[in-house]
Symmetry: C2
Subunit: 206 residues, 2 copies
Amino acid sequence: MNADKIPDIIIGRLPVYLRALQRLSDKGVHTTSSQELGEIVGISAAQIRKDISQFGEFGKQGTGYAIPFLVERLRDILKVNRVWEVVIVGIGDMGHALARYNGFTNRGFNIKMIFDNDPKKIGQKVGDFEIYDTAGMAEKIKQAKVKVAMLTVPATAAQEVADQLVKAGIKAILNYAPISLNVPAGVRVQYIDPVAHLQRMTYYLD
Amino acid sequence: MNADKIPDIIIGRLPVYLRALQRLSDKGVHTTSSQELGEIVGISAAQIRKDISQFGEFGKQGTGYAIPFLVERLRDILKVNRVWEVVIVGIGDMGHALARYNGFTNRGFNIKMIFDNDPKKIGQKVGDFEIYDTAGMAEKIKQAKVKVAMLTVPATAAQEVADQLVKAGIKAILNYAPISLNVPAGVRVQYIDPVAHLQRMTYYLD
């Protein structure tokens, strides 16, 4: 199994399968089928079987998937069988919401530090976190060896902050600013832009 | 041009192109090339040309794309040359952040009403909006003929609220709850789940 060989579009569907399987597991369900999973996630059973088979043989014809086993394998594959520390940069409304979101921990992520450059915010608390000055950010990230960041600064500042994060050793950026970031090879960026998602839907509306 | 014939994956890239083109336009740039656009958005020039050519001939060999024209065409195609009214259901941290986000209006969307079922929140204000009771939601949405909703309720409530929204005539749901929704044909759902995006990146990390 070679990370470079599996299309990223397939990798992007694995967290969706994992989320649905964990939810079934939470409900006490122990086995499922590609049909059932497909109905939950809105992806064809054939596509699910094809995606999952990229990583080995998990299901048996007629008996389906053993949920605990498949959950563990997906967590292995996505490397969330460990806990990744994450920093949040930019504590506006969105940064606040993320800092207080309780859905990270049991899915592989733990907020480690939060940063802002506003003197009025630095030193204040959001939940359990003190807001640190971005001036000392690179050093703190390097020391803590954090690899993952969520970027919730204004669009005008996003590229500059991303550059600082990359220099500090960050390898994965979840970008909430509505601009595309330039990062070197080896650094990954994912985008959360609600308007882009809304526009993808209005295309189909009358 | 038939909406059913163009793969949704292409439709999903158009808002990304539009966002980048509008940003260039804001900077006073009037023309661009698929190469330049590709570098900004991190998609190959060939892919961009192929995607855009699905909708007609927009660029000229050697002279590139006229940005104002392409922006207008993309806004037409995505149907954001009008303003869509949107409701937000669930005014926790995320609902708050969305209600106060100022990036919707100039990209085709206008928050119309916000709802929650918490008696302590109903009647309170978030920005300019009074929080309405979800008990009267369906009626208010029908009267206002709103077609687009952002769903920021807890996972346990999301499917039930989605069912209510569908009955009220909502055709597009941006779902922030970390579960997959079942909706009838003709209703579209997009998902925003930061953890799924993070997991898509940790796959590639060491």
